[in-house]
Amino acid sequence: MPRVLMKGNEAFGEGAIRAGCRYFFGYPITPQSELPHYLARRLPEVGGVYLQAESEVAAINMVYGAAAAGARVMTSSSSPGISLMQEGISYLAGAELPCVIVNVMRGGPGLGNIAPAQSDYFQAVKGGGHGDYRLLCLAPSSVQEILDLMGLAFDLADKYRNPVMVLGDGILGQMMEPVELPPYSGELELPPKPWATTGTAGRGTRNIINSLYIEPEELEAVNLRLRAKYQRMEEEEKRWETYLLEEAELVLVAFGTMARVARAAVERLREEGIAAGLIRPITLYPFPDAPFHAAFSRARAFLVVEMNLGQMVEDVRLTVEGRCPVHFYGRTGGVVPTVAEVVNFAKEVWQKL
């Protein structure tokens, strides 16, 4: 397979094209801008539509319309822009419309800065918008994985009729790595969407896309049906990667860019004779519990490392349920923990065990 050098932000775009996505609606924001730049050139080549909206609010609602019309569609933004999209994301989840939303996270809160961060974890996996809903949430940690997970993201969105969030960060978006492009032969055979609002011609009955249910019992039934769908995701879609987890007594947990730093830290700790290992969740929702259960027999402590002040660590604690101490190390505001910092903190944890 041909290997090419590609920027993370471009890989989000190329991965989407190869997944059959032909519609992009977005609004410029740093540090994800190369993604719309790429698609503005690339989508017309494949007969698609790139549209720069007047705001993120409009962009996510254009995604809502295109998804309702049955298309594979995406948007991308960065933290403050994703905040603006939350209303629309709630409606997408409520109306059960499939789409892919890329968040190339930057420092917050507020305007924050344009440096890499992971501080939108809660927003991505705990709801973000109003109402009792979930997003499938994928966290790639390399440019190759961006390409691969974009295909999965569109497939999962269609499978569950649910929005899928792909969480990157400023480093992942900006870095260039050699990648193998997934096979691609132009038009894909995509699943039929008999529920889409395309006009009643040839169908007879009306299709309605809606999230309004005035009767409480009716809305409760909708929520219960959604919950059953989320439970199915939890049964079928958990994904993760482990590194040296067998025999690990100190288990590092990290996702995305941070997992690359944590992996290097695990190697250094091993060199120093500390039995360290790594769990890297690839799906942040549903959160992968199996590797934790596998680690319990030997693990003496977990160390969660994030580019925030402690968000995924809460899901780790929920998974570990007090069976083992859970420690946290993080930097925020766009500061990325170095391998040395993580190693030093891990050694402190180790010495206290």
């Binding site: 539509v49 007047e54 409009a58 254009m62 995604v63 809502y64 295109a66 309702a68 009306r206 896309i209």
Partner: protein
């Protein structure tokens, strides 16, 4: 037996939830009749607002989408870009379009989106309890302007049709009223033209329809028709504010 008037198949059989005498129902009927007469009902996708017309998806006998408050033009944009050969319309009230959704309607017009917007202006928020709308008249009493709207505090009524007519991408912009049989007949003619502009791919089209709200205006329905005539039309004059370029050149 000859049928002079019957309910159009462009409407479902569901009874409207609107208050007695609210002219939303007339506007629904006109849009539905036009879609049937243009023979496009089966290829139409409508987008509903949030506000009194939030249940419009139950009434129009075609595929329908419920949008978030004010976002119908963005949703319609997404639909039309995916399905350019379908007829796409939004049905929005004055709060939805002229307050929270101002950005979406202006930019849909600016892009020349080939969609049709039916903009119902009744100078008040109906669904939420009669609060001031961006189109509330100066001096008009509402639940949030209990002493009448004063420009010093609450600004001035927004003339949406005139404003959007200045935008290049807007191909057809007109204002009509549904307060008399004559105006209803004219309103239907104008709504039909707006959809014809979309079918001819000429650009964005919008019809502002002056409508009544007897409940929140505090009047009986016949009084509301008179109030519309005497108070609203002087502020919101009827007419075509923008017609497609070729028609202007021929004129």
């Amino acid at each position: 037996m000859r049928v002079l008037f019957e309910r159009t198949r462009g409407l479902t059989s569901k009874p409207f939830h609107y208050c007695p005498g609210c002219t939303h129902g007339i506007i629904h009927r006109l849009v539905a009749e036009v879609l049937v007469e243009l023979d496009v009902l089966e290829k139409t996708v409508g987008v509903c607002p949030v506000g009194c017309a939030v249940f419009a998806y139950e009434y129009f006998n075609c595929d329908m989408i419920e949008a978030a408050h004010g976002r119908a033009p963005a949703v319609a944009t997404g639909v039309k870009r995916v399905l350019p050969d379908r007829v796409v319309f939004t049905y929005q009230g004055d709060g939805d379009l002229a307050a929270i959704g101002t950005a979406e309607i202006v930019h849909a017009a600016a892009r020349g989106e080939k969609i049709t917007t039916i903009f119902v202006n009744n100078a008040v928020y109906g669904m939420t309890g009669g609060q001031m709308a961006p189109t509330t008249l100066l001096g008009q009493k509402t639940t949030t302007t209990p002493f009448g709207r004063r420009a010093e505090e609450a600004g001035y009524p927004l003339r949406v049709a005139e404003m959007l007519a200045t935008i290049e991408g807007a191909a057809y912009v007109a204002r009509v009223a549904v307060n008399s049989p004559k105006n209803v007949i004219q309103a239907k003619r104008v709504i039909r033209r707006a959809f014809e502009v979309q079918l001819a791919n000429l650009g964005f089209s919008l019809v502002e329809v002056l409508s009544t709200c007897p409940t929140n205006w505090g009047m009986n329905p016949p009084e509301a028709l008179r109030w519309l005539e005497e108070k609203m039309i002087p502020v919101y004059p009827l007419g075509e504010f923008k017609v497609p370029r070729e028609e202007r050149e021929h004129a």
